[in-house]
């Protein structure tokens, strides 16, 4: 990791630390304080709800980033695995009366296990071929959910508020703290997985799986491990989403959502821990801006616009943003952030 001029590590532990300088510690603590005091300065409960939803999306995107960004296993069925987590939690808490923390963990484990099953083809398939099997996974999962009486079928099912012991996460602020804590923990775990032997194996497989196998990396094990971890995080996100929404049916887990998750990590920056954070915040903010701001404004103000123009702005702009990112900054916002940090470290010397 590049450090500001004049900073040197004297111990291996210092060299391996994620946060290495006092400035970084100050900025990190400041960021956490800002994050956890958000309920105090958010303009309304609605925006706090959006922040909570962003946190849930971030957990799922972080899992997909480990799978796709680090290990290179193209999955376009992530929403299906989120659905597995959501329904596992809903069934356990609603129908069987299992406490939320156990249901949360079971959601991750169930989604991870299903992920392993659908990850098995990855041993023989790569790229677009694997993408097609992941799409199939999404459709199979949703079909099973829609035709299983335990899940409520197409009509969906109610999900109680999340609770730990006698404390019920009923208020928006408490839901925000629950999700944010898990999101921070997820990012911390993802960062450490990426820096470990496992993470290096993932990267080796992504860059050249044949070379990785020659080096002694067990492709079968690590590819399935990537599927398990990625889908485990999707399951956790699904559980949180279900308890936050209070009601689920398969319409919450569309194929378009799966594509959007891939778009988020591409825009944020594949194969970086910070990429999903940037991507999720960017897409969520853009979506809110379009839904709540621009589209109603256009519809209300410019009645001379052709019918459907205002509402068509959302998909058009989404598509445009993704295309522009792919053309102008294929390495995502994380790369821009990295350039900014480098410039800051060398400032005022440009070269």
């Amino acid at each position: 990791m590049t450090l500001p001029c004049g900073v040197r590590s004297y111990k291996y532990a210092d060299d391996m630390a994620i946060i290495r300088t006092k400035t970084q510690w100050v900025l990190f603590i400041l960021m956490l304080v800002l994050l956890f005091t958000m309920p105090l300065y958010m303009p309304s409960n609605y925006w706090l709800g959006i922040a909570t939803l962003t946190g849930i999306t971030l957990i799922a995107a972080t899992g997909l980033n480990l799978l796709l960004g680090y290990c290179g296993q193209l999955s376009i069925g992530h929403a299906g695995f989120i659905a597995v987590g959501a329904y596992t939690s809903a069934i356990l808490t609603n129908r069987l009366g299992v406490p939320f923390p156990i249901a949360l963990l079971c959601s991750g484990l169930t989604a991870g296990t299903i992920g392993i099953i659908f990850g098995i083809p990855s041993i023989r398939l790569k790229g677009f071929y694997l993408a097609i099997t992941s799409i199939a996974a999404q459709f199979i999962i949703l079909w099973v959910i829609n035709h299983w009486s335990l899940t409520g079928g197409f009509m969906g099912m109610q999900v109680p508020y999340a609770s730990i012991g006698s404390f019920v996460f009923k208020s928006r602020a408490s839901q925000f703290y629950l999700v944010t804590s898990i999101a921070v923990l997820t990012i911390f775990i993802a960062k450490n997985i990426a820096r470990s032997r496992v993470g290096r194996a993932f990267i080796a497989i992504r860059d050249n799986d044949l070379a990785a196998q020659v080096m002694g990396i067990n492709l079968f094990f690590y590819k399935l491990l990537a599927f398990f971890i990625g889908c485990f995080m999707a399951g956790i996100a699904g559980s949180l989403l279900a308890h936050w929404m209070g009601f689920i049916n398969t319409e919450y887990f569309s194929f378009a959502d799966s594509i959007l998750y891939v778009a988020m990590i591409i825009i944020g920056g594949l194969g970086t821990t910070i990429g999903p954070i940037f991507g999720v915040i960017f897409i969520s903010t853009l979506e809110q801006y379009l839904t709540v701001g621009l589209v109603p404004f256009l519809e209300r103000t410019f009645s001379m616009l052709p019918s459907g123009f205002a509402t068509g702005v959302t998909p058009m702009l989404f598509g445009l943003v993704i295309v522009l990112f792919l053309i102008l900054e294929p390495r995502g916002l994380a790369h821009r952030w990295s350039l900014f940090k480098s410039a800051y470290r060398l400032w005022p010397f440009s070269y």
Partner: protein, 420 residues
């Protein structure tokens, strides 16, 4: 200045202009007026845009009429927070959370699927909702969600009764196949068939489901054709309904059997998409009057439609949502009359309770300017209008063939299969 710098500056300026556009509307220098806020969410984009976009236009046009020509409600203009949900359940839920936080006193949806997605959030908070298109799962058992009109179950019951009494000429029980959209739109009809088919003397021979995005139903229809049905009943939105009718035509099933559809599909769009020749003779159920009928509210509605959204002319969905806006205005008028404006001013739980108990539950015979059956609240029944009519496509036009039919209340929650 070189070209690349100019490009960058140009791009930044464009981005700034687009970003600031919505805020320009907030820069209102006029004196503050005491408004009443309501929320409306429509699927104006996405899979059901062919209905949602028309319905969104009708809602906004109607409130423009109410505010400009009727002076709002008891002198208070209605401020509409309108959002497109894109037929996306998550987006619909966040839309409703925004309505609650923005001080809206009630909200309305166009589609039953989006009301299904949002009703738990609303019911938990006691935030009253009015569903334009309505299914039994929204209000059985009754909570804080109300149906503007009859539900998809009522459609099936009304048509089935009409079929047995007026169309069926064979012996024994007529054999009916159901083709249902895989959400509340389809399941409403299925629930009614499960509850009432035997009583009405109809044999349900198959229940098939389709997605809103279906491109072909040849496979399912081939299977249905082999079962030799007398009637095919479709409860879906216009685009899938058109696909099914076209496929039935291609397979030689229709003409030959009777095809009928629920009110989500029985619109001008169905005829436009499937073609007038193919849909000729198709039956359907709809709970509002037809375009151009001689009723008090029609002239003003057409005037606004032609002025603001002429492309929606002749569309029955425009009538339903225009009527929905009129009903909301009446609910607010009753609330102001019974509870005063102050309780509504800021929104919140007190305002929501006032709207529900002093407004919605006080509705008694409001005529909706003749656009659909009268609107009344009957304790235990959250359907506000209970009337519908049977229609038929004749020479490309959707023509009523019956008078108003009163749809009886079915207490679905008394059937143990309901909701399971």
């Amino acid at each position: 200045m070189n070209k690349s710098k100019l490009r960058v500056i140009g791009a930044i300026l464009m981005a700034l202009i687009i970003t600031m556009l919505p805020f320009l509307s907030a820069c209102d220098t006029e004196e503050q007026v005491e408004t009443i806020k309501i929320g409306i969410t429509t699927p104006s984009s996405g899979q059901a845009a062919e209905k949602g976009s028309v319905m969104g236009h009708a809602n906004l046009d109607a409130f423009e009429y109410i505010n400009e020509e009727l002076g709002g409600v008891a002198g208070h203009p209605i401020e509409v927070v309108w959002l497109d949900n894109g037929y996306d359940a998550t987006k619909a839920v966040t839309n409703v959370q925004l309505f609650m936080d923005e001080g809206c006193v009630m909200y309305a949806t166009a589609s039953s699927a989006m009301m299904t997605a949002t009703m738990e959030t609303a019911n938990r908070a006691g935030f009253p909702g009015l569903a334009c298109f309505n299914a039994p799962n929204l209000h059985r058992p009754p909570q804080h969600i109300y149906g503007q009109m009859t539900d998809y179950g009522d459609d099936w019951t009304a048509f089935a009764k009409y079929y047995v009494e007026n169309i069926w000429e064979g012996e024994g029980k007529p054999r009916m196949a159901l083709h249902l959209l895989n959400n509340s739109t389809g399941y409403g009809a299925r629930d009614a068939a499960m509850a009432k088919a035997e009583e009405l003397g109809i044999e349900i021979i198959s229940i098939d489901e389709h997605a809103a995005t279906t491109m072909s139903e040849i496979e399912s229809l081939t299977r249905i054709k082999a079962l030799n049905p007398d009637v095919l009943y479709i409860s879906s939105t216009p685009a899938p309904t058109a696909v099914i009718i076209k496929n039935a035509y291609e397979l030689g099933m229709y003409p030959g059997i009777t095809i009928a559809c629920g009110h989500a599909g029985m619109t001008k769009e169905l005829v436009n998409i499937a073609g007038a020749d193919i849909t000729e003779g198709v039956y359907g159920v709809f709970p509002t009057v037809s375009w151009g009928d001689d009723v008090p509210g029609m002239e003003k509605m057409i005037e606004y439609c032609l002025e603001l959204h002429p492309e929606d002319e002749g569309n029955g969905d425009y009538i339903t949502s225009w009527a929905q806006s009129l009903i909301i205005a009446e609910i607010l008028r009753l609330t102001v009359e019974n509870a005063g404006y102050e309780v509504l001013a800021e929104g919140g739980p007190e305002a929501w309770a006032a709207v529900e108990y002093q407004g919605i539950q006080q509705l008694d015979g409001y005529d909706v300017e003749g656009l659909h059956g009268p609107v009344s609240y009957v304790p235990g029944d959250n359907r506000l209008s209970k009337s519908l009519r049977i229609f038929q496509v004749q020479s490309g036009e959707i023509v009523p063939i019956t008078g108003w039919i009163e749809a009886p209340l079915i207490k679905y929650e008394e059937y143990e299969w309901f909701g399971n």
